[in-house]
């Protein structure tokens, strides 16, 4: 009504005439609106659109980056968080089962990318067919506006990028995750049922496997997202979401402990299940020294990887120099670091080496 005189009609207008309280409020609001219109008055900018367009195209920074389309993610915040948590647990679980160390604690110090397909990841979610996954500590994910808020939640210092490429925005969104702890309890009954639905029989059950538990701890972790994570307007194609320019993640290395059987036995048995694809199984078994290796599942389409030395330790660089997407992952002193984004792999390595 304040902005649009035509809106003052009918019952509203009649009420306004008769009610001194509402009239007083309306006048106050109108007064604010008029005052602000005056305060914000500026000389018009006369623009030469064609000239501006030419200038923009001539700017070196205007070079087009191909859109990095994320796989389809269904909207809805909670399912996404749950899916994220499930993936985290899945990653930790692979890491744990592959660790296969008789000592129950495992601390990976190198990383190896494992090419996975969407089907492989879906196979991971089928782990719940072989037992019960319960969160003994629910991960709390929280966005924070400052490093100190994120540090307070995660209980660890936030990584500092000391050589940000000029093309990357300095707007940082922090995210923090508290430590999450999940317990997977193997259930012979569930595994048998799962095998039956696939028309297969359960592989012979090692002694102590039924009811054996695997406890996975992940995090705490801090993530930093550089640049705006643009939320598309309602109704637009969600696959158009773009990768942030840069994401830096620091997380305590996951750890795994088991009861009744060794982690190695759980690994062998879970990998023998019908729900796990042969590709993932082969990839997992191909790892040379699993006791010290953290496996990072990477979509098959993005697996241009090479070994690199980062901050004096062995790490893995993914992606290429097209700027579509690249990342570096390494483990140092029990902490997993990742630097990734719509940047060149050389830039990712440089950022990683100078991360403080």
């Amino acid at each position: 009504m304040v902005d649009d005189p035509d809106a003052r009609a009918g019952e509203d207008a009649a009420h306004l005439e008769g009610c001194s309280e509402c009239r007083g409020r309306f006048e106050g609001i109108s007064d604010d609106a008029r005052a602000v219109a005056t305060l914000l008055a500026v000389h018009d900018a006369h623009v030469d659109v064609a000239g501006a367009f030419d200038r923009m195209l001539a700017a070196p920074a205007a070079q087009r980056r191909p859109i990095f389309r994320l796989p389809l993610i269904r909207p809805g915040r909670r399912p996404v968080v749950l899916a994220f948590a499930a993936v985290l647990a899945g990653v930790a679980l692979i890491a744990a089962v592959v660790a296969g160390d008789l000592t129950l604690n495992f601390e990976p110090n190198t990383v190896t990318p494992v090419p996975v397909t969407v089907a492989d990841m879906q196979a991971l979610s089928q782990l719940s067919n072989y037992g019960d996954i319960t969160w003994t500590k629910q991960p709390q994910l929280q966005a924070a506006t400052s490093a100190s808020d994120a540090e307070a939640l995660a209980g660890m210092t936030a990584p500092v990028v000391s050589n940000l490429p000029s093309s990357v925005s300095k707007n940082i969104t922090y995210g923090a995750m508290t430590q999450a702890e999940a317990v997977f309890t193997f259930s012979a009954e569930k595994a048998r049922a799962a095998a039956t639905t696939q028309g297969k029989t359960l592989p012979a059950l090692p002694a102590g496997m039924d009811g054996a538990t695997l406890t996975i701890k992940v995090g705490p972790a801090i993530g930093e997202i550089y640049g705006d994570l643009q939320k598309p307007a309602a109704g637009s194609d969600i696959s158009q979401l773009t990768l942030p320019q840069l994401v830096v993640v620091k997380s305590s290395a996951p750890s795994a402990t088991s009861t009744q059987v060794t982690v190695r036995q759980i690994e062998d048995y879970v990998l023998a299940q019908p729900g796990i694809t042969p590709e993932l199984k082969a990839a997992v078994q191909a790892i040379g020294d699993p006791s010290t290796t953290l496996l990072i599942p990477i979509p098959v389409a993005y697996t241009t990887s090479k070994d690199v030395t980062v901050q004096g330790v062995k790490g893995v660089a993914l992606g290429d120099n097209t700027g579509v997407g690249a990342g570096v992952i390494w483990v140092k002193n029990g902490v997993v670091y990742a630097v990734a984004g719509s940047i060149k792999v050389d830039e990712a390595i440089a950022i990683a080496n100078n991360l403080k």
Partner: protein, 177 residues
């Protein structure tokens, strides 16, 4: 149309879509930035930056393109307003411009001072209300403001009223200090 021509026209259509978007939105993006910065030259700088960012990472055919541009224009210019670098630059530019103006020098100093106070006050508001004011004052409809800020159209009126009251309060606070 043979396949080769069709393929060429598909390739061209991305560029054409961006040019169309630029032509349709450039003046509005500049207007939003100018409303915040009260400096047409710097507003054009902001518009260039916003379009370059968009061009690098987004498709010009995306439905959210205009809303993205409007929001980026408001936020980028508000960020500049708050930056120390911007303040220094503005003061130097104003000092230079003052020498060229034909308006009564005393009157001009007062106008400049008022404008400066208003921008300082705008920079003190929370980003969302400040962006809403800049967008609305530059001529965006309630629906466009709602889309750009990701709020329901029913919330825009209240958001604007509160922002207007807050801005007046900040300006009064600034002048009484």
């Amino acid at each position: 149309m043979n396949l080769g021509t069709r393929r060429m026209s598909t390739v061209r259509s991305d560029d054409e879509a961006f040019e169309d978007l630029f032509t349709a939105e450039y003046a509005r993006v500049v207007r939003i930035a100018n409303r915040v910065l009260a400096d047409p030259h710097e507003a054009e700088d902001v518009a260039q930056e916003v379009f370059i960012d968009f061009h690098r990472l987004h498709s010009a055919t995306a439905q959210y393109a205009p809303a993205w541009l409007h929001r980026a224009a408001a936020h980028t210019s508000l960020n500049r307003l708050r930056g120390a670098r911007r303040r220094q630059k503005r003061e130097v530019a104003q000092a230079l411009e003052e020498g060229e103006r034909t308006l009564d020098p005393q009157k001009q100093v007062e106008v400049d001072e008022d404008r400066r106070q208003v921008r300082v006050a705008l920079g003190r508001l929370a980003p969302k209300p400040a962006a809403a004011l800049a967008m609305r004052a530059s001529g965006l409809s309630y629906a466009e403001v709602a889309q750009a800020l990701g709020v329901g159209i029913g919330q825009v009126g209240t958001l604007l009223r509160r922002a207007e009251a807050a801005l007046r309060k900040e300006v009064t606070r600034g002048t009484s200090n």
